[in-house]
């Protein structure tokens, strides 16, 4: 079955390396997908107010466009897209009245019937491709690379949409092991990065980044991976502020988990490391991966 690939805004700009490496890896692994036509913003943050049908229109519009194009499954890469689409989908499936209100409002779209499943890339890799198959296809094992996986919030919480344990997940560690890397556990791996506070409170976000990254570093990690473009920005770009706040701070490269997947699968030229604030190329070269 073909996935409707929903990219979301940041995958086309700041996180281009995330998209390119994920798509090239999926092709190599034989997962079929097509980018959804006429996709729009997912709304980024799921509205938590009980009466806010207006803020669920964006997600349901995306779902109905996928449904009417014949798709039954939707693939997301960004944690925030995954969370908003999955939660809105769960809500309208369990609340026919709310679905009817939204359908009536979207009179320029076909009614959504609730038949689309929203999946995150990591679920597809784990449950459909399987890590055993990935292990067998690795041509450049990430041997000797000590990596701390950082999950953030929205892949894991609330529990109803979690792709793994809400507090102590291990799906990324399992993937990294299958790529030949050495996963480093960290107690900060499911902690919040500060999210959109990076707009108006970058001091707080730099504080979170310092705690998350120094915890990984103390345990021996050489780099940190994530799967969310906002976590990525906060952990990568805010290291400039962290370095100003803590004189002895040593920057650590941040990668999207798919960039390592693509490297291990022997894929070239999909990385866009020029978009990273902390350059990972010297570390990757020293490991013979570039």
């Amino acid at each position: 079955m073909v996935y409707a690939y929903y990219p979301g805004c940041t995958l086309k700009t700041h996180a281009k390396g995330f998209e390119l490496s994920a798509m090239a890896s999926l092709e190599k692994l034989g997962v079929k997908y097509r980018e959804l036509e006429k996709w729009t913003c997912c709304g980024t943050v799921y509205s938590l107010a009980s009466d806010d049908a207006m803020r669920q229109v964006a997600q349901v519009r995306i779902l109905t466009r996928a449904e009417s194009a014949g798709y039954r499954r939707m693939l997301t890469l960004c944690s925030m897209c995954y969370n908003t689409l999955k939660r809105a989908n769960m809500l309208v499936r369990s609340d026919p009245e709310r679905l009817e209100t939204i359908n009536m409002f979207m009179d320029d779209e076909p009614d959504y019937k609730g038949s689309v499943e929203v999946k995150h890339l990591l679920e597809v890799l784990r449950d459909e491709v399987t890590f055993d198959k990935i292990r067998s296809m690795v041509s450049k094992p990430l041997r000797g690379l000590r990596i701390s996986a950082y999950y953030g919030c929205l892949l894991l919480r609330p529990k109803t949409v979690s792709i793994d344990s809400s507090i102590n997940p291990h799906v990324m560690e399992d993937l990294l092991s299958s790529l030949g890397a050495e996963p480093i556990d960290s107690p900060e791996k499911a902690k919040c990065c500060g999210a959109y506070l990076t707009v108006n409170r970058k001091d707080l976000v730099a504080g979170f980044a310092y705690e998350i990254l120094s915890a990984a570093r103390r345990r021996g990690a050489e780099l940190v991976v994530t799967s969310c473009p906002l976590c990525f920005f906060n952990l990568d770009r805010r290291q400039e502020e962290v370095s100003r706040m803590y004189e002895d701070y040593k920057p650590i490269p941040i990668l999207y988990v798919t960039q390592l997947l693509a490297l291990a699968l022997g894929i070239r030229d999909v990385y866009m490391f020029n978009l990273h604030y902390v350059d990972p190329t010297s570390l990757l070269k020293s490991k013979g991966l570039l």
């Binding site: 709304g43 009980s50 803020r55 609330p158 507090i167 707009v199 108006n200």
Partner: protein, 135 residues
């Protein structure tokens, strides 16, 4: 500290509105403190999450509405994952923010942020902040 609790304020319209908007039963909280212990932002708050719930229970909604805490909560749902009574405090803080935002009182003014900084922010951060902090 002296606290005066008014019976008439315990179920004030403001309290009822916050409970309705959030869909949360604040009265089931027995103050175990797991929310505050697990919250990554507690250190940046003036009123910690468990106290927010307690103040709503006793009708002191004004203190909560004026607190800095509701604007540093990022809805990471750690408190909800830990709460033994299943209270989603992130939905409570959302309702408290909306109390202001639906009166057209913005928390975020983009013109106060240097232009160069705005240019380098990813779209995902801008849309998230604008949806959470503006009317």
């Amino acid at each position: 500290m002296q606290l005066v609790i008014w019976r008439s304020k315990i179920h004030s319209p403001e309290v009822e509105k916050i409970i309705e908007l959030s869909g949360q039963n604040v009265y089931s909280c027995y103050q175990c403190g797991m929310c505050t212990a697990s919250c990554p932002s507690t250190g940046n708050m003036d009123i910690p999450p468990n106290m927010i719930v307690r103040l709503i229970q006793i009708g002191m909604i004004g203190k909560v509405l004026d607190s800095r805490s509701i604007w540093v909560c990022t809805s990471c749902f750690t408190c909800f994952a830990e709460c033994p009574k299943g209270i989603d405090i992130a939905s409570l803080t959302e309702a408290l923010r909306l109390y202001h935002l639906r009166r057209n009182i913005d928390h975020l003014n983009l013109s106060s942020i240097p232009h160069g900084e705005l240019l380098e922010l990813p779209v995902i951060a801008m849309v998230g902040a604008l949806r959470k902090f503006t009317a």
